[in-house]
């Protein structure tokens, strides 16, 4: 059912017809935690790479101000050690951002807002459990070096109190850079 809703959302999103900008984006970044402990031991080697792929729509609101939303898939590649265990994790998350931004000096834009993403795999979402959803604070900047192409940078920080277990494979903070292509 969740997958069906998602499919409908994707097609509705790309079927929109308005005076808006549509972009696709790809990011590569590094995710990290400040001082992650488990069983009173600091996790020493917790390396997490992140790729993010998705699309967004920018809706002009007033002069240079715009609203932005979209849909992204985020893939985290993590490895590390905890006591007697070493792990290697691949974690896929769906992310829906809501941003308010500003265009300035023609080529630049900056925006801030939040995003919602699943904190558990879709087949493990359970309403009776906590920590199903993450809320992330976002800061995003962009520079248009071509009519259709932009370099973008994104800062994401989990705002919820998430148990450390979830932070092993998807850390609290992510910094990424990427490229955006305007479809329309």
């Amino acid at each position: 059912m969740k997958k069906l809703l998602f499919i409908l959302f994707v097609f509705a999103f790309f079927g929109m017809n308005a005076q808006t900008k549509f972009n696709v984006e790809a990011h590569l970044g590094y995710a990290f935690n400040n001082d992650l402990y488990m069983n009173q031991e600091k996790i020493s080697s917790n390396t997490v790479l992140m790729t993010q792929l998705g699309a967004n729509v920018q809706i002009p609101i007033y002069k240079g101000i715009y609203g932005e939303t979209g849909i992204y898939g985020k893939l985290y590649f993590a490895e590390g050690e905890v006591r007697n265990s070493s792990y290697n994790a691949k974690t896929l998350r769906l992310d829906i951002p809501f941003l308010l931004g500003y265009h300035f000096l023609e080529k630049y834009r900056i925006s801030s807002g939040f995003s919602l993403s699943n904190n558990r795999d879709f087949n493990e979402l359970n309403i009776s459990k906590e920590n199903n959803v993450r809320v992330n604070f976002l800061i995003k900047g962009g520079y248009a070096f071509h009519k259709k192409w932009q370099i973008v940078a994104l800062f994401q920080r989990n705002l919820r109190t998430t148990p450390d277990l979830f932070l092993l494979n998807e850390p609290r903070t992510t910094i990424s850079v990427g490229i955006s292509y305007a479809l329309k």
Partner: protein, 404 residues
């Protein structure tokens, strides 16, 4: 076309699964290949040998209280300590009896000399208790903690032992269990808190005990002994007869019991999981057990609110009669509550020390068990659950700080 490609990419991403691969720094054999002979472990290893059809029937009808005859072997470091001893085997537990790994009650045909045979060998016991003789014990799946740590009840019981509180407890040692030579899982050997278990702690016969149990929703169940005495006590509680209650109850035991359970805020208590007993004509004393729901729910409550939680139970009524009508009891209880809280052994450090000790003893053994039951699926997840158990105590301790 672009839109279709992007939508398709999203769908592929969504359908592809996340995965988590764990590699342990030590070797763990497959649970399917493990045998009593090749299993290297510091734990005692128990093998229960019984008629396979009867075992199957017992597991299929786990609510039917079916007892079957079995033979039990127990090994320590591959040395046979108990050899084909005749036992009665029964599935135990309430909700936890629905779990794949079920708790088992073991009752020996003959009382066993535990000092010789080392059936259970806990690190520390209370000075007034003896484990020299064992008539029965429980192989416990850790109840509602089965999915989390397998350590919770035992760790809180050890905290009570460390504090030297004046009530009876269930002792603990983890074990590997086989049924008909097939690996069953890791279970906790626990001394029983029923008449058989408690009578042996004091080297008494079961027939000398009156044992009372309070089950949800606060229903009295007289297990053994002098029913008339129990009914009289219940009537006197209903009448608010302070003098009679004080004459019948070991007040130190009652105060310690109520104080400890309320300090660790047991959500599944006191309208459930209460046991008290008397040996012959002595006063009723209390037994601590089933601590799977402590420090999980309502952890910001004042201890008194944990007792007076809106449920009905003879124990709540008895406490209320004494606390509201007897100034001396009220003062004693309030002082003891604070005294236990301020005891350096009731601290984050002390709890953490006990938990770490139990965790370290189990951490290289539990992967074999997790491999079979996948609850939790990885050792890392188990580490995290242990951390949450520690954090729950820390949180409760922090809230209590504001109450005193």
């Amino acid at each position: 076309m672009k839109k279709i490609i992007i939508s398709f990419t999203f769908l592929i991403l969504l359908i592809s699964c996340s995965d988590f691969d764990e590699e342990l720094k030590f070797d763990v054999p497959s649970y399917k290949d493990v045998t009593i002979e090749n299993l290297e472990t510091p734990f005692p290893v128990i093998n229960l040998i019984a008629n396979e059809e009867q075992v199957e029937k017992m597991f299929e009808n786990y609510r039917a209280e079916i007892e079957i005859e079995a033979r039990m072997d127990l090994y320590r470091n591959h040395e046979l300590q108990v050899d084909r001893e005749l036992v009665e085997l029964e599935i135990k537990g309430g909700k936890s009896a629905t779990f794949e790994l079920k708790s088992l009650g073991i009752k020996f045909d003959d009382t066993q000399d535990n000092s010789q045979r080392q059936i259970i060998n806990p690190e520390k016991i209370l000075p007034n208790h003896s484990l020299d003789k064992i008539k029965s014990f429980r192989l416990r799946n850790s109840g509602n903690d089965f999915f989390d740590t397998m350590l919770k009840d035992a760790t809180y019981s050890e905290l009570a032992i460390e504090l030297g509180l004046d009530f009876e407890v269930s002792y603990y040692e983890p074990a590997f269990v086989f049924i008909n030579n097939e690996f069953y899982g890791m279970l906790n050997i626990r001394t029983e808190t029923n008449s058989n278990g408690i009578s042996r702690l004091f080297d008494k016969k079961k027939k000398h005990l009156t044992m009372v149990k309070v089950d949800s929703p606060g229903v009295i169940d007289i297990k053994d002994g002098d029913e008339a005495r129990v009914y009289t006590l219940m009537q006197k509680i209903a009448d608010g007869d302070v003098a009679h209650i004080k004459q019948e109850i070991d007040l130190n035991s009652f105060i310690d019991y109520m104080a400890f359970e309320s300090l660790i805020t047991n959500f599944d208590w006191p309208n459930n999981n209460v046991r008290f007993y008397a040996i012959e004509d002595s006063k009723f004393r209390f037994v601590l057990y089933d601590l799977d729901y402590v420090n999980e729910i309502d952890i910001a409550n004042h201890p008194l609110k944990s007792i007076r939680n809106g449920n009905s139970s003879p124990i709540i009524d008895m406490f209320n009669v004494l606390y509201d009508n007897d100034a001396e009891f009220k003062q004693q209880f309030d002082e003891r509550l604070e005294e236990i809280y301020n005891n350096p052994k009731f601290s984050r450090e002390s709890f953490s020390t006990i938990l770490n000790k139990n965790m370290e003893y189990v951490e290289k053994e539990i992967p074999l068990h997790l491999q079979k039951y996948k609850e939790p699926e990885t050792l890392i997840e188990w580490y995290q659950n242990v951390d949450e158990l520690r954090a729950d105590f820390d949180d409760r301790f922090g809230y209590l700080k504001n109450k005193f």
